[in-house]
């Protein structure tokens, strides 16, 4: 066990003691986000990008596009691929190498929030049916890690997609310098993550709070509906707790959407 892991375990215990008294390390309310800053188009060379700070957590999302063959069952639709990298620069807890289960889970939960909200009109990404479609590649790059990568990454993702442009495509060639319009994105799905520490439910857990938590629940919402959910951790929720958190996710989601 590394020194960092031991230190984190101590912090996790501290967070649990605080939570039992109804308190948080940074004096936040249980339903309060850390300060959030969204900087769209952070990497102007990318087709779409965004840089999000959520407290000390920092994430960059980038959009790239390529032309490829569609899946046989959806010959007239473009595709989306989401990847996440926990770059070792972001934390002493991250190591270089192939993505670990946590990074895979992050990418898939962010992907699900975007995909299931139907915010991207994939039919408009068809170039020639059955032959050529735009493949949207969404890459999440964690650069400083202090917990709640789900909310920060999904916010960066939708922000990057909202400012993404489609390059021009002529005679089988992509002309990156010219654009043929914006990526067709219509909704703003956002994710809210709650941690359960003992019996206490708290929004937007920090790394120490994630260490101390029993379970977490991420709820992705659009204005009207839930589009994805994911429970994690070895603890559990009652149905009442889940429904209460969904309710909160709708309320907090509204505030998040205003940042986009």
């Amino acid at each position: 066990m590394s020194v960092e892991e031991v230190a984190l375990e101590v912090k996790g215990d501290y967070v649990r003691q605080l939570a039992a008294k109804g308190m948080r390390q940074d004096k936040r309310k249980m339903d309060e986000y850390r300060p959030i800053k969204v900087t769209p188009n952070f990497i102007p060379h990318a087709l779409g990008s965004s840089y999000v700070e959520l407290g000390k957590t920092k994430v960059i999302a980038g959009v790239s596009m390529a032309v490829g063959t569609p899946y046989p069952d959806t010959p007239a639709s473009g595709t989306l691929m989401t990847g996440a990298e926990f770059a070792p620069i972001a934390s002493p807890l991250f190591e270089s190498g192939p993505p670990r289960p946590a990074a895979i889970e992050l990418a898939r939960v962010v992907d699900r929030g975007v995909r299931e909200s139907k915010t991207i009109d994939f039919d408009k990404l068809c170039i020639t049916e059955g032959e050529a479609v735009w493949m949207v590649m969404l890459d999440l790059h964690v650069i400083d890690y202090d917990g709640n990568l789900f909310d920060s990454s999904s916010l960066a993702a939708i922000s990057a997609l909202l400012n993404a442009r489609i390059p021009k495509y002529e005679d089988g060639k992509i002309i990156r310098e010219e654009t043929s319009g914006k990526l067709p994105v219509s909704k703003k799905p956002v994710e809210c993550t709650f941690a359960k520490v003992g019996d206490v439910l708290m929004l937007d857990p920090t790394l120490a709070e994630e260490q101390g938590m029993d379970a977490r629940l991420t709820v992705a919402t659009t204005e009207k509906s839930i589009c994805a959910m994911q429970k994690g951790g070895s603890g559990s929720f009652s149905l009442d707790e889940v429904e209460g958190l969904i309710d909160q996710a709708f309320k907090k989601g509204k505030a998040l959407r205003k940042l986009l």
């Binding site: 895979i104 299931e116 139907k118 509906s225 429970k231 149905l239």
Partner: protein
Amino acid sequence: MGMKSDIQLIKDGKRLDGRKPNELRDITIKAGVLDNADGSCYLEWGGNKVLAGVYGPKQCLPRHLSNPYKAVLNYRYNMAPFSVDDRKRPGPDRRSVEISKISAEALERVVLLEKFPETMVDVYVEILQAEAGTRCAALTAASVALADAGLPMKDMVTAVAAGKIDGTVVLDLNKAEDNFGQADVPMAVLQHSGEIVLLQMDGDLTQKEFHQAATMAIEASKKVYELQKAALKDKYKERGSK
């Protein structure tokens, strides 16, 4: 979820396979089917055929992954190449890594791992034939296999999915419903405490629809739980009659 189609999934209140909205597919469970594994289970759930095997508690390898306070639980959800129409490339893909992660977390809630520090428990689930709802079938089978291995557990984990097709909330989606439906909510619950230990959702649901789907899945899990218990009892009955 949500591939476009003109297929009508509900006709006259009945689904394509003749089920009512709140009806499960046929489920059969058999415990103790493998010789080498410490515990095992074979489960059929509609067209799903799933085999779960448990090894352990045993020495934790590699050593640095061992935990001085409790056993490490490893869960491997694996689809056989022939389990789906288009051959599945062998080995873990991103989907199975995610399913394995959340399924392990669900089981960690019930297995008394703190009784076996410095060891590990391996749970292997092979999906031999897949027809929607494999993660629930797999977790339900894994829970029986763990009990069959004699591991002390607080409760059984019972997993059932609910979802939405043609605007109606239904239980236990089949393949067509999974492909063309509007939402899928896999859940795992503990019978005695009502705790939810696995919850995912994708698609489009209102709060009201989620409530309906979750209640439906929890209600149905009671039936599946009875089948899990019966499978474990049957194993000993069979032994006694030999």
